[in-house]
């Protein structure tokens, strides 16, 4: 015993070819609440180190899809894989690689920033000492290290979102899901969060699925999935989706695809 072995050493799954395995694969997923169909035959992939925007109006099925990926709901038909791990069959392995920021705030308002992070770390079985180190590091990264002991209640909306993103990264996931993370934030806070997440993609190679209905959050280099009334209407690189819709911008493309009335100001 010259050096301590990594904890993960004794039981590893066979390593898939990283280039071939998408960070997230949604394969023919359908879901219904009783007679009401929420998702119909949805398929798309999110590649590692890519930013995929899931574009859809409210009620398009984005949150249902998120509930299925996070195994909050059981998958009725189809398959969801995270780096090749089936969410239904091996949820433990799949969820270890997944970080999520839900649309509603899910922080404990009366606990401190650090306490919130430590709780999340414990849920992932990360030891207290390691969790404290990582929390301090992540709080520094989002510029809230001097607020570590304050109650979350005293933070601004943008700060809470940054904390939620930091929390989602605490267990070092390789795939990050964000469900309309900028809703209710001011322009500055929105820009900060978008650039932070894009940095994670380029610097750390994290695959990101970003659900939104705000067109101005999407960049030409992004992959796009257009979800409407539970169906995928278009998917692929943004430019291709726009061209194939016979449009010049994402706004018009979305309108053509869905037949929806798009309101001025970049939102749907």
């Amino acid at each position: 015993m010259t050096s301590p072995a990594p904890i993960a050493e004794p039981h590893k799954t066979p390593r898939p070819d990283p280039a071939a395995v998408p960070a997230l694969s949604i394969d023919s997923v359908s879901h219904a609440y009783g007679p009401r169909r929420a998702l119909t035959d949805v398929s798309f992939n999110v590649q590692p180190a890519s930013f995929t925007a899931l574009l859809g109006l409210n009620g398009a099925g984005k949150s249902t899809l998120f509930s299925l990926i996070t195994r909050l709901f059981g998958i009725q038909t189809g398959r969801v894989g995270i780096f090749g791990h089936d969410v239904s069959k091996s949820p433990g392995e799949a969820l270890r690689l997944l970080g999520v920021v839900f649309q509603p705030r899910t922080l404990d308002l009366d606990l401190s920033l650090t306490q919130n992070l430590l709780y999340h770390a414990a849920l992932h079985g990360i030891s207290r000492r390691e969790a404290a180190t990582r929390s301090a590091e992540l709080l520094g990264r989002i510029g809230l290290e001097d607020r570590a002991g304050s109650k979350v209640r005293d933070l601004s909306g943008g700060q809470m979102r940054r904390l939620e993103i930091a929390r989602a990264l605490l267990h070092r996931p390789r795939l990050l899901l964000l469900d309309e993370p900028t809703v209710g934030l001011d322009v500055k806070a929105r820009a900060d969060i978008i650039s932070h997440v894009r940095q994670l993609v380029t610097e750390q190679g994290i695959g990101v699925l970003w659900a939104t209905h705000l067109f101005d959050e999407i960049m030409p280099s992004d992959d796009l999935v257009v979800l409407h009334q539970g169906k995928v209407l278009a998917r692929g690189p943004m430019n291709r989706v726009i061209t194939e819709a016979g449009a010049l911008d994402v706004n018009t493309a979305f309108m053509r695809l869905t037949g929806a009335q798009v309101m001025p100001g970049g939102g749907a």
Binding site: K62, T64, T106, D108
Partner: protein, 282 residues
């Protein structure tokens, strides 16, 4: 963070990871409890009102003969103390379980359930954390009751602990089973009327069962079949360093049945999804 290059993941979880998760959930529940002083005060006031007012008024009406585990004539206050301890746990179990269903809508349960550990284990931890909170309430009650001449043997404070953990788990699981399975009992008023009051009054919490039998044999059978009666008796005997084996068996069996049922019912893929997406999502 950028040092991670492998996509290999450990299969399964180590015992240390399970323990970290369990202590983390209990720790967070404790912290939240400390921040909710009103909840603590109201949890204490309720049994104390029964003890100071109801019991004082009733002690002349109801004579208690010598029944096990008591070895001498006792005051009515002494008799109902275990029932009030169980009542604290009953309220706490229902409240914390309702908040789990409510929490799910608030999004807090999402944070819990996105943990990679097995869902059944996560829910068990949550129930245990709720029980831990009820223990704080019960011991605070016991301290105040001591000044009111409810003085069980010192060892009783220790021997009652396992009984309280078991009864707390049973009542918490029952609350979770009820709040997951019965849509009509979504608010606390409904649970009070249809669960808490019937369970509390049709039990041995306020009167010895032989008294009930004299009054109404049918009610006696109902009380005997009530798991809450056995929680009360388990606590009553344990507080005096004794074990009521029948109550232990009933409470133990009910805990297992309720907990399995609760975990099964809570699973959103097995029935709860019928309600549609929680929290008005689309």
């Amino acid at each position: 963070m950028s040092s991670i290059t492998t996509r290999d993941v450990p299969r399964g979880f180590t015992a240390a990871e399970y323990m970290t998760c369990l202590t983390g959930i209990v720790w967070r529940e404790g912290l939240r409890f400390l921040h909710q002083r009103e909840r603590f005060v109201s949890a204490l006031v309720r049994p104390l009102v029964w003890l100071f007012i109801f019991a004082a008024g009733f002690r002349q009406v109801l004579g208690i003969s010598i029944i096990p585990p008591y070895e001498t004539y006792i005051l009515y206050e002494v008799f109902i103390a275990p029932g009030l301890m169980a009542m604290i746990q009953l309220f706490n179990g229902m409240q914390s379980s309702l908040s789990m269903v409510y929490d799910r809508e608030m999004g807090n349960m999402r944070t819990l359930l996105v943990s990679p550990l097995p869902r059944g284990f996560l829910l068990f931890c949550k129930l245990l954390a709720g029980t831990a909170v009820s223990l704080l309430q019960v011991y605070a009650f016991l301290i105040i009751a001591w000044f009111w001449d409810i003085t069980p043997p010192p060892i009783g404070y220790l021997t009652v602990l396992p009984a309280l953990i078991l009864s707390g788990l049973m009542l918490g699981s029952l609350g979770m089973l009820i709040s997951s399975g019965i849509k009509q009992l979504e608010n606390f008023a409904g649970v009070m009327n249809f669960v808490i009051f019937p369970m509390f009054f049709a039990s041995s919490a306020l009167y010895p069962l032989w008294r009930v039998q004299e009054g109404s044999p049918y009610l006696y059978y109902v009380c005997q079949a009530n798991p809450f009666t056995h929680a009360v008796e388990l606590i009553r005997f344990a507080l005096y360093g004794q074990i009521n084996w029948i109550s232990l068996a009933v409470v133990g069996a009910c805990t297992i049945v309720f907990m399995i049922g609760a975990i099964f019912a809570y699973d959103p893929s097995r029935g709860l999804a019928r309600r549609g997406p929680a929290g008005g999502e689309g």
